[in-house]
Symmetry: D2
Subunit: 133 residues, 4 copies
């Protein structure tokens, strides 16, 4: 993505590691998209009744991550405490989503969404650790 280039030419100082921010943003965007499409896919399933919790968690997760991406995309942001808490909320959202999607992994959209949420959770934990140091 060319937007990685944009983070590199950002004129401001930042306490965040730009490379880790870049890859974290990419993964979070992918998870946000996965959750949004998974919710819509669940709504198209015949057995939507048993997928309502999955839809709710998908929607919550997509919203939480949407905000996290925006915070990370403002690398000159001065409140590291806020970034950390938003990353923690994202990790919880991704775990909740992955756990629920796993129950429905016979459906391809839930299976892929679970895999993306799980790998994004790991990269988000790395992002969080890089700030704590």
């Amino acid at each position: 993505m060319r937007t990685q280039e944009m983070l590199r030419v950002h004129p401001g100082k930042t306490l965040l590691d730009k490379e880790i921010v870049e890859s974290s943003i990419q993964e979070l965007i992918e998870a946000q998209q996965a959750c949004t499409v998974c919710a819509d896919s669940c709504l198209s399933e015949e057995e939507v009744k048993m997928l309502t919790r999955c839809i709710q968690l998908n929607l919550d997760c997509a919203d939480v991550i949407n905000t996290t991406v925006r915070l990370l995309s403002r690398p000159a942001t001065p409140s590291l405490e806020l970034v950390k808490q938003q990353l923690m909320a994202s990790i919880t959202a991704l775990e909740a989503c992955a756990t629920e999607c796993q129950k429905h992994s016979k459906m391809e959209h839930c299976k892929i969404c679970m895999e993306i949420c799980r790998s994004t959770k790991e990269s988000t934990q790395r992002m969080l650790s890089s700030i704590k140091k």
Copy 2:
């Protein structure tokens, strides 16, 4: 707001206290609006250069709260842990915004935004306590 009526007729069970959720949503929406208008007001000030940190925190706070309102507006949501963490992120965002706006409280928009963020922070803490119980 008639949307309070909607929360009352929501057919789902919820572990959240609907009355506290209602008032919390109202306050959070007010703070979100205050932060968005404050950021735009700061951009219109002659001395915008000294307000850039205020603008950044306003934008972050508005985004974080936007997501929090959405989570609370889905009272059938099953992840209390996620709601709690998003509320904690909101409290941090509101405090950061209030503290920064206080430095510029000669400007009316920063003064009002500070007051709204501070009172919303308190009601958000009450919302959080009501879940922890």
Copy 3:
């Protein structure tokens, strides 16, 4: 709402009528909340299968209006053309939502959401007309 006060003290010039903007924002926020709660209410209904189109339109409408509120909350914004188009998208979204909710108006949440969407559509049309003049 105290946020109306904030629009009044906004230091920038604006081509928009602040009073109309204020009331338009209030109505749009109410509709956005109605749609978000209605979607979650539909997911809690036994007969969710026949409500999937309603849920999808609720989600789309809430997202479209969320953005419209943000644009109107930046009254110093220089692109009137953009504001007009976003208002037109909102009117279409509100009408689509109201029409679908009407089909399910035996359910209280759909009935209230329909009423709010319909009255907000009218106020949004007034907002749009005030710019066109």
Copy 4:
């Protein structure tokens, strides 16, 4: 992106061309990120005073596109009229942003943002044309 895979396995019928939707979403996400980072970059510039209009348009454009991506990510969405209007608003936002960024293209972030907005505007027009047919 693996999210393209998700669109492919979406179980619902759609009137949209999935391949065009996929590439359109990718470009729109890139533009949204460019605008968000460009706004934050502008805030870090010494001469922020002359960049306030650019910041405002960046913020508006990022919000409009954020919603457009969500609508396109629900391909089972039933209101083509709404999708079309949101695409038109996006094209206007992208053009406004590109035009303003061009004035400041000595700054790398504005130059890259201008290029991304311009190419995304073209792909969004193709997306719009594919629906009109």
